[in-house]
Symmetry: C4
Subunit: 253 residues, 4 copies
């Protein structure tokens, strides 16, 4: 028999992730973040239907890879929870998922210009950011991903990439850790703004090269001091520094 | 004899609506929100002449569909209250009205580009957003809607739509509930920004299709858990979460 | 012998004006606001050299129309106080002056596009907003208006208008009251943004007509309930609502 | 034997500099500011690896001009500390350095348009702002300056100028005092925004002349009342006004 993980630190991290995404304007009342269950890869943790800024540890529920609750305790769930389910199912390497509507990602979902990394902090979105249009397979909908079939189609579009834009709606991002998916989701609109403004200045824009994107990705560790620094900073800004659990393997200050 | 409604919850909701619109930068000292009287469709509730952010329950007055006070208690009234009166008179389906000057709606009132939904949260503005120019009927004015004739002309321009832009001034929006009109008024400038930025990127912009706008409208309920989520979130952000009254028919969390 | 005015309410208003301009991002550490002395038109009140956000009643000093202190109590003064002196000297109708660097006014001082009213709240800047270039008369300077000759040249450029942009620097605005000059200075960058964004949308932009600008100006009273509303709102936002003195001739609420 | 300086006031100033840069959105969790050691020009003071907003006096360490700690007390250091080391080594006139990623400087690092002063507050960036591309000498990297060779190459590109943009990354700025480097770093993105927006308005843009840039530079003193004013203002905004040490040679208020 395997000892079960103590979920408390992970749940606190998920609460922090919710609050950071709200504070950094990645989500408002809508949008959500999830993390794969450490003991069961077929389950994931996510908040019940609640604005991310208001989420506390008691609001976290476990869902399975069909988007159904592991234990039905009557909580109302996010309509679009299927996005998380389908990405966790299709991508065993992915440990955390965000779906959000960050304003400055929206123009790239409806215009012809491709979103690509132009700043080093944006490199983690990867060299290919596909745009998923729900209308291609499902015709006229309310644009929400409200069932597992739609979510699986989105996961196919995402493929091996880190971010898919969703036309007229927002984006889904996927990463190897909560810290990483939050960081990518915060820098995604920032990279989008840098690209928009450079485009408006006119002339050629210098994108990050494939080699640079690869070099950054190789050098990235979700538990380095540098990564921790931004997590700690954002948690404090979001008034939940008291929930921080410093990983044991970080050097003491 | 019919029992009168207890107005207290509705008045609290109207106070919340005022504070949310201020917090979300839809109104500043100017702009106002109203709700039709639940017992008398010929009356509506609105604040006395006061900045929305400072409105409390004691500042709410009842006006009739000519924009005149039901009971004259000497309060100074909004100069442009006629906008609300005329829209409630022309549109029996409308239960709540906002008039405001949200900054990013203004360019679409003075430029040739039409404002149309490009993001799902903007779908409720509808496929047709007419622009009313007060000068067309009334020549050189101070641009304010200060009498019932001007307001009726605006209501004619609004027609069966949800939003009319007012050239060089702002907009009027109309909906079936307070929650709905607040939500539409908050997402209106956000949709405007997405469209402006996509336009600046160059090339074709993908608008929401008529079918998508209709599908979203069909699926919308002002008292769903999803709608409540944003109302609760915004009320908390606007420091008036304590005024929230949760509808009886929402599932418990 | 004429009784002297009680200066306390005016000084409190001037403190409020300082705080509002800081809170609304019209000034930062630089920029200033002044009011003509009620008993002596050859004097005006302004803060000593201090960031407007930090100004209190004890920081207000009186200067003459050469920009020199009426009573030298050793306070360091704003380098650019001459702007106020020269405008008060040239324009007996002007009771209050602002000089500031509000960011979104700057592009119109360095580009060829003219700043003109496009929104009703921007009408008070008037149909003509001249651009003063200090280099025209004074060659290469540090761009600051540091003597009375430069300031008089600026006042000539301002002429009978309400606002002059200063190339590569900021603007000077002049009005008949503190409330009016603050209001104009807050809405000036807002009008600038609406015009910039409409221009970026492409096609013709509809400006306010001369008749509309005149109609708004005719209808304006610095002591109406509507004007008071925004003053009260901004003062509260700037955390100095407690300094407000409600004019006696406003209707009670 | 020379008496050693009391480092406490300088360390407090460095803490203030960290907090101001965070509050003014020049840095987030990343970016750093340093000051040359007053007693030993081969050493400089900088925070250990920590978000600038969280830095306190106890987090300041001394490094040498190879970027190595003067006394190894086990603190984790900024990966990019070499930027500071190389600039202090190459430029004896420089007393303080900032490296940051302020968002609105980024477009000018990736587009063809040159960043030049267009507003008086932006004059201190100087007439020439070179763009350093790490790829020119080092090929595909993660874009970070993680060794002294890369930093020396950046310092060569900076040359005698005050600011170098770093393609796809951010900027490095260098000045004769902490106050000056902070001020330049805050106004740098503001100048960038003014130039971007003027460019978008179309037509010719009026830049500051060489003579104006020189005149401003001549007139600048890091310890004048005017410079102090903005330092005091920003420190208060950043909630660290209590750390301010007023220089003895400033006139009393």
């Amino acid at each position: 028999m395997t000892a079960m993980s103590d979920l408390k630190p992970l749940i606190q991290d998920l609460v922090i992730a919710n609050r950071i995404l709200a504070r950094e304007d990645v989500v408002d009342a809508y949008g959500h973040v999830s993390v794969r269950h450490p003991d069961n890869p077929h389950h994931f943790l996510i908040a019940r239907s609640l604005a991310p800024d208001l989420v506390g540890p008691e609001d976290i529920v476990a869902l399975d890879l069909d988007g159904q609750p592991v234990r039905d305790d009557g909580h109302k769930l996010y309509l679009e929870r299927f996005i998380h389910a389908a990405i966790f199912a299709a991508r065993p390497d992915v440990m955390a998922v965000v779906h959000a509507h960050a304003e400055d990602t929206l123009p790239f979902g409806i215009a012809a210009t491709k979103l690509r990394p132009v700043i080093h902090a944006g490199s983690f979105i990867g060299s290919e950011v596909p745009v998923w249009d729900i209308a291609d397979q499902f015709g006229d909908t309310n644009l929400l991903v409200t069932n597992i079939e739609q979510a699986r189609d989105l996961a196919v579009c995402l493929g091996p990439n880190n971010v898919a834009l969703m036309r007229g709606h927002g984006f889904a991002s996927a990463a190897r850790s909560l810290i990483e998916v939050v960081r990518m989701s915060v820098y995604l609109p920032r990279n989008a703004r840098a690209l928009m403004r450079a485009t408006q200045l006119g002339g050629e824009v210098k994108y990050l090269s494939e080699g640079e994107i690869a070099a950054r990705n190789r050098g990235y560790s979700p538990y380095s001091v540098e990564t921790w620094r931004t997590w700690e900073y954002w948690a404090n800004k979001a008034d939940c520094g008291h929930l921080l659990t410093r990983p044991d393997d970080l050097p003491k200050t």
